[in-house]
């Protein structure tokens, strides 16, 4: 029974609280990257009038969005399991933003699914609005909420709103990159313009956000922002965004997709840097203060990490099944 006693008294490894902070941030990154391009598809959908092009976008979205969306649940429940007070405060202190976000997800998810249920122009048009509106509002509200959390700023403030806009634009960029890699040249060259513009706006937004934070010292984050790692993230983002745009113009869409997906991943890394070690800046709560007791954390580690690996394998399988270009309503074989 000595092993069990060990499980109760101490973390499996000393750094387990930090590892869990990393795991929660990894789930956030997966969500921002994967559902981000879903949101992008939804927003770019607004630019399409042709029914066949719309169907192409929906075919790219259909098989994967639901699984992508589950990452927000994984993120939330992992946060709850490891840092219950942070989960409580983040949601309770941003009540309307949080519930607005889940309602936006509701409209986004129902849109494409319900649209297909009936061949009626008005019916389809309303569900299109639902899809587009939800795809725009969800990243805006999620980003704004994150901005409030990280920078301890009110909703109507530059740090919060710029984070929201940043998430919207990076979603458009990855959505465009994902679609160009999966569709025919004519549609692709049309979509890449939006992607490149969104990338540039995103980069300007990130720089503006970090400048605002340095000037106002929002949430006491100025010092972190001026550190070397954050500088490196900014440089890498500019390289990924700029280089990606060049690749896009040259028609190298798969390479563009890889560099575009790097943008939200770097953004999540930035969030992680800003939230460590003070995981809830408004009350100054740190990772070590907020973490659950050893037994609870050891348990979710032993049961949860193999499950997480399995989930990653599912995703590899899913994206393997639905790889390759799309035309109209179907995948080409």
């Amino acid at each position: 029974m000595t092993e069990l006693v060990l499980l109760v008294d101490a973390y499996l490894v000393d750094a387990l609280p930090e590892i869990w902070f990393g795991a929660v941030m990894f789930a956030l990154a997966m969500y921002v990257v994967l559902d981000g391009f879903d949101f992008g598809i939804g927003m770019l959908y607004a630019t399409r009038d042709d029914e066949r092009e719309k169907e192409t976008l929906l075919t790219a979205f259909g098989p994967v969005w639901d699984a992508n969306e589950v990452w927000v649940v994984a993120f939330g429940t992992m946060l709850l399991a490891a840092f219950p007070r942070v989960y409580s405060r983040v949601l309770a202190d941003h009540y309307l933003l949080a519930l607005g976000f889940v309602l936006a997800l509701l409209f986004r998810g129902l849109g494409p699914e319900m649209r297909e249920q009936r061949d009626d122009e008005r019916w389809k048009r309303y569900w299109d609005y639902s899809f587009i509106g939800g795809s725009f509002l969800a990243p805006l509200l999620f980003g704004t909420l994150a901005g409030r959390w990280i920078f301890d700023a009110p909703t109507l403030s530059l740090p919060a709103l710029l984070t929201g806009v940043g998430l919207v634009t990076v979603s458009v960029a990855t959505g465009a990159a994902f679609l160009t890699a999966k569709t025919r040249p004519r549609l692709a060259s049309d979509l890449r313009t939006y992607g490149i513009v969104a990338t540039l706006v995103y980069l300007i937004g990130v720089v503006a956000l970090l400048t605002t934070v340095v000037v106002t010292d929002a949430g006491g984050a100025a010092e972190t922002v001026l550190s070397l790692p954050v500088g490196a993230i900014v440089v890498l983002s500019v390289v990924a965004g700029g280089g990606g745009s060049v690749l896009a113009l040259r028609g190298k869409y798969r390479a563009w997709l890889v560099s575009a997906l790097g943008l939200p991943a770097l953004l999540s890394l930035l969030v992680a840097l800003l939230l460590y070690p003070t995981i809830y800046p408004p009350t100054g709560l740190t990772v070590r203060e907020a973490i659950v007791s050893p037994l609870a954390l050891n348990l979710v580690t032993i049961l949860g990490f193999p499950a997480l690996l399995l989930v990653l394998w599912y995703f590899k399988f899913l994206y393997g099944v639905f790889s390759g270009p799309i035309e109209g309503e179907g995948y080409e074989s």
Binding site: L105, M114, Y314
Partner: protein, 482 residues
């Protein structure tokens, strides 16, 4: 902690406003009621989908191709509704009941995270394959995908019910102080996950989901058969649903009886509310209850009702064999749950349960005589009964959840203490109204989608679907051709 002296409803300036506590509870109750219909649809329909897919791939029988294709569409629409209504549930633990999330975090966080990682992902990923991938994967992988979707749905229920069962019969923890707050610390994971309530709840809920879906399948099949007698696939589906009901409906009654005894043991206050038993002493079991006055509806007390009762059987059940055993009455407690809702919900659920047994036996008798699809009376009854499984399932949950009040964690944390102290009545009322409006729209859309799917099916079968024959919701226009 949270002041109960505040009025629950007040008019502030221009608008009617509810207290944060009342609005939060109403919102959680309403959103979970809608979510549970779709969640249990996934759980109940999963075995049907697996069976149809397996038969379809295995035998190439056109009947099963048809049934699989139809019910996968229902499953897909239901799953999307389940996803979009499910995400607000775990969020509300944080937005509306943050003290609950914080106090119970170590106990409920793990199971909820496992639900996401082990169940929800499994269901979502392989449903993508099931819906869009038939041409892109082998038959074996395709059947396996349907099995994995089903396993995901059942595992999902497993982890969620671990959380709920813990709230009813909390075990495996001790209260400690962390960051200035009394919180539960996990001390024994096995005891915390497999609480006394867990096995009762899981069997009862999964079986209830299967019964509800069997009634839905029977109702839809009966409608199509009624319109088109020689629809072979739907005659098969009707028969299958009746056979499943013949097993599951009696099982639920037998199991429910034992479950009730367990509730009396572990949550005597809830049991007393279920029987409106106020005075401590011998308890009768009221098989049927009729209110003597309007008051008796809103405030039922065993002594104010006309009842058909078995004297002392309440005591017998609660004690496990003693007709004179003392059963604690509601007068013993400082604060009680809303007795009327618990008392009547319980009777409604049990009454429906017996009705389902009757329907199953009727259908079984008709199968035995080979006249299942010939009796218009039976077909119409089954059409009318198609939503009733969900009515029983919801009222059963009302008994469980409202009966636990005033506690959110039985004996440990009151619901009023769990409500967010930073939430304003205006915010809470606003989101409550939003959820009510949006979810009513959602239910209407779901009913329309089901109607269109049925109409499409009838059209494909070559039956007449005219405009004056519209089917709004589960009950069709019944003609007098009996």
């Amino acid at each position: 902690m949270f002041s109960t002296a505040l009025p629950d409803v007040l008019i502030q300036g221009w608008a009617l406003q509810l207290s944060p506590e009342l609005a939060s509870r109403a919102q959680f109750g309403w959103t979970i009621s809608v979510h549970i219909i779709f969640a249990s649809l996934s759980v109940g329909l999963a075995p049907f989908i697996v069976y149809f897919t397996w038969k379809d791939v295995r035998t190439d029988d056109e009947r099963f191709t048809r049934l699989r294709s139809f019910w996968v569409k229902v499953f897909a629409a239901g799953f999307v509704m389940g996803t979009v209504t499910g995400i607000p549930m775990s969020f509300q633990f944080g937005t509306n009941f943050p003290q609950f999330a914080e106090v119970a975090g170590e106990l409920i966080g793990g199971p909820l995270a496992f639900e996401a990682k082990m169940a929800f992902f499994l269901e979502a990923v392989f449903l993508g394959v099931l819906l869009f991938g038939q041409e892109r994967v082998s038959d074996r992988t395709y059947v396996l995908s349907s099995v994995l979707v089903g396993v995901g749905a059942w595992l999902s229920a497993f982890w969620i019910l671990i959380v709920n069962a813990w709230m009813q019969t909390p075990r495996g923890f001790e209260m400690i102080t962390r960051n200035g707050m009394e919180v539960a610390k996990l001390t024994d994971p096995l005891a915390a996950f497999f609480t006394p309530r867990m096995p009762w709840m899981y069997v009862h809920m999964v079986n209830a989901s299967v019964i509800s879906v069997a009634l839905l399948v029977a109702g839809v099949s009966a409608y199509i058969v009624w319109k088109k007698r020689d629809a072979a696939a739907w005659n098969t589906a009707l028969k299958l649903a009746v056979i499943i009901l013949l097993v599951t409906a009696p099982l639920q009654a037998v199991h429910g009886d034992a479950y009730g005894r367990h509730v009396a043991d572990t949550q005597p206050q809830k049991f007393a509310a279920m029987e409106a038993h106020y005075e401590t002493g011998t308890a009768d079991l009221h098989l049927l209850a009729f209110p003597k006055s309007i008051d008796a509806i809103t405030d039922p007390k065993a002594e104010n009702l006309f009842t058909v009762s078995l004297p002392g059987v309440g005591s017998f059940l609660a004690s496990g064999g003693d007709f004179d055993a003392e059963v604690l009455g509601l007068n013993e407690y400082e604060e009680n749950p809303p007795v009327a809702m618990v008392f009547w919900s319980f009777r409604f659920m049990v009454g429906l349960g017996f009705l389902f047994i009757g329907l199953a036996l009727w259908g079984g008798y008709l199968i035995y005589n080979g006249r299942l699809s010939e009796s218009n009376r039976f077909l119409k009854t089954m059409i009318a009964a198609s939503p009733l499984g969900y009515a029983a399932l919801l009222t059963g949950w009302y008994v469980t959840e409202i009966g636990r009040q005033p506690w959110v964690i039985q004996g440990e944390l009151r619901t009023s203490e769990a409500v967010s102290s930073t939430l304003s009545g205006t915010e809470a009322t606003l989101t409550l109204v939003g959820f009510v409006v949006i979810y009513i729209g959602l239910i209407l859309v779901a009913l329309h989608v089901l109607r269109w799917l049925v109409e499409d099916e009838l059209r494909e079968l070559g039956a007449k679907v005219s405009d004056d024959d519209r089917w709004y919701g589960p009950v069709p226009k019944v003609s007098d051709d009996d």
